[in-house]
């Protein structure tokens, strides 16, 4: 391997390592037929929640304590990174009977 290629490889490695920290996970939460599942999920600070809306309607994931408010278009997904620990009750602003809990540990 030439020194140039070696450097490029090293640089790519470093980039990859920065983009995906080893400890962070992506957790999927699905909204389908007006139900959020799982109704109780747990994650860690730094994890990403992928909100998947399988319905033909728009939904939101709105934290009661104001920590997050994500709008998810019909048949689309949205992502949010968790920055604060706590037990967060959240609901859909458009369909307040859709409720769930997310427990975020430090």
């Amino acid at each position: 391997m030439s020194p140039g290629r070696y450097l490029v490889t090293l640089a790519l490695f470093a980039l990859g390592a920065m983009a995906v920290p080893a400890h962070a996970a992506t957790i999927q939460i699905v909204m389908e037929n007006m139900v959020i599942s799982p109704a109780e999920a747990s994650a860690k600070v730094g994890d990403t929640i992928e909100w998947v809306n399988k319905d033909i309607l728009a939904h939101t994931a709105t934290a009661k304590n104001g920590d997050f408010d994500v709008t998810i278009a019909p048949k689309k997904a949205a992502r949010s990174v968790l920055t604060k620990a706590g037990t967060v009750d959240y609901y859909c602003r458009f369909h307040p009977n859709m409720k769930a809990v997310l427990t975020i540990t430090p």
Binding site: N33, M34, D55, I56, L57, A58, P74, F94, H95, P96, N97, M98
Partner: protein, 173 residues
């Protein structure tokens, strides 16, 4: 089937009962027309409520109804286009529209908290009636699987609306 639906709907004691009890045997073009009409009725009621309601929960509910029923009706239109089905007007749709127009006029005369309560009570009753009709008549009668599936999706959504309406109504007492 006809008798059972009539009893179920009559038991709810709502205005639209007569409309939905008519016509035991429905074709897909008629079912599509009834489902679409039922959506339009709730959108019109929601638009009236968006301008007339004073309670903020009632106003927000009305906004949700307009948004959701417009989304469902758009799906319905896309589906009938895809299936090359022309929705067909029928006695059930006509009776539904007539009763809805009367209800809209009746609600139009009310103001303030009296309007809010009458609107939300009607939304509870209306969604109950439509959901019963979907469950016992429209879904079982639909022959095209895609139409049946859209009606089933609609039922889940409208059951959510019924609960939401009940929740708003309970909060006003």
């Amino acid at each position: 089937m006809f008798v059972r639906l009539s009893i179920a709907v009559a038991a709810l004691g709502v205005l639209t009962s007569a409309a939905l009890a008519q016509g035991a045997k429905l074709t897909d073009p008629q079912i599509a027309h009834i489902a679409y009409t039922a959506g339009v009725i709730d959108i019109n009621a929601a638009k009236q409520a968006e301008s007339k309601a004073s309670n903020k929960d009632v106003k927000a509910f009305a906004k949700d109804m307009a948004r959701d029923h417009e989304a469902v009706n758009k799906q319905a239109l896309d589906l009938v286009k895809k299936l090359k089905v022309t929705p067909e007007d029928n006695d059930t749709s006509k009776a539904l529209s007539k009763q809805a127009a009367d209800k809209l006029a009746e609600l139009g005369k009310l103001k303030g908290a009296a309007y809010d309560k009458a609107y939300i009570d009607n939304e509870v009753a209306y969604h109950k009636t439509v959901n019963t009709a979907l469950e016992t008549q429209l879904i079982p009668s639909a022959s095209n699987p895609e139409l049946k599936s859209l009606l089933q999706t609609g039922l889940k959504i409208f059951q959510g609306h019924e609960q939401h309406a009940e929740h708003v109504a309970a909060g006003m007492k």
